[in-house]
Amino acid sequence: MTDAKRGDRTARNARSLAEGLTELGLVCVIEARGTLVLLMPDAASVEKLADESLRRAALALAKQHGFTHAAIELPNDRRRADTDADAAILRD
């Protein structure tokens, strides 16, 4: 598979994962880095992820979409000022 095709598939998987997470009640910006997916949840979703069963569900969903690792990016005050202006729904 070419890098371009692999990238297209990863992007599709990421979009589909974002939709699935929304159905779980998690609102996230998603960034795919190979088989690692970074979730950037809104504040309410961070609080929801304290629930272990919800974390497990999110992980299972990520695995279904081809990701071996899922992590939530923690809000970094020093960085937020730089990125707020150009935040995207999906980055890959």
């Binding site: 961070v46 304290a50 992590a71 990016e73 970094n76 960085r79």
Partner: protein, 285 residues
């Protein structure tokens, strides 16, 4: 040697295995041990000290930038407490381009450097048998460093006699070793994905970040995985549950960011051994 390994064993099995280890050591009379102060090498060194006496054992520390300074301090403390003689050497694998390029067999180059320095030093001190702390579980993992040990004639009695990590922890507890419940402590380079160069700067970032998290009181398994500008933190799953509150996560983020990472993420699954191998599709043999 043919071995049979069990994950959980009874007291009788463990006693038999300990007797077999003592016999194995007694046959060699004098042994030098590659000593990191971790669970396995500390156990082996203390059993050797008890079996062979102070003149019969030499624990050799190979200091390198790929291990945190705190580890060497801990190794010295264990050796002092159990009266194990220590020799310290410096290794320099970071100056080997083959190692610094961080190929999937990186550990081979590190261990080659270690044994190239350690084995002659042991022999100069009158120790013809050199051992490492490889255990039976390690044989089932991706361990390219094992080849270097074989090439340098280094023996692995814990693996050969079927000591699993669980058995070593149990026996260590019975011997009163403080390392019995110490988390596994692979080198800092293991936090950097294969293909991403290993540099002193990156190792320093990882070491500072992990030390900062420990200073917050985080116990158990902990890894800061390096992904360029991003640090991905893996915590022991039980610890992860305790820290998954926004205000505590903010403290984690600050600690790691202050170590030099622009972005900080926390892995939703938590710690898993060989995590970066999984990420790169490398499966155990």
């Amino acid at each position: 040697m043919e071995t049979t390994t069990v994950a959980v064993e009874g007291a009788t099995d463990l006693e038999a295995r300990l007797r077999a280890l003592a016999d194995w050591l007694a046959e060699r009379e004098r042994v030098a041990i590659g000593f990191s102060g971790g669970v396995d090498s500390a156990f082996l060194a203390v059993v050797a000290r008890r079996t062979l006496g102070q003149q019969g054992v030499l624990a050799i520390i190979g200091r390198s930038a790929s291990y945190p300074a705190e580890q060497w301090a801990a190794a010295r403390r264990v050796a002092t407490e159990f009266d194990v003689p220590v020799l310290e050497l410096d290794t320099d694998e970071l100056n080997d381009p083959a190692y610094a390029a961080n190929p999937s067999n990186r550990c081979y180059f590190c261990k080659s450097e270690l044994w190239t320095r350690l084995v002659p030093a042991a022999r100069e001190s009158g120790f013809l048998t050199v051992l490492d702390g490889t255990n039976a579980d390690d044989l089932r993992d991706h361990r390219p460093g094992a080849r270097a040990a074989i090439e340098h004639g280094v023996a692995s009695p814990l693996a050969d006699l079927g000591f699993t990590k669980a058995a070593i922890r149990r026996a260590s507890r019975e011997l009163g070793l403080p390392t019995w419940q110490q988390p596994s402590s692979p080198c800092l380079s293991s936090r950097i994905p294969y293909g991403t160069g290993v540099t002193r700067e990156r190792l320093g970032q990882i070491e500072r970040a992990e030390a900062a998290l420990r200073s917050l009181g985080i116990e158990g398994d902990l890894r800061v995985r390096y992904h360029d500008e991003l640090a991905r933190v893996e915590l022991d799953p039980a610890t992860l549950s305790k820290w998954m509150q926004p205000e505590r996560l903010a403290v984690v983020c600050d600690a790691v960011a202050n170590a030099g990472f622009e972005r900080v993420a926390i892995d939703l699954r938590g710690f898993r051994s060989g995590s970066l191998n999984v990420l790169h599709g490398i499966t155990p043999p």
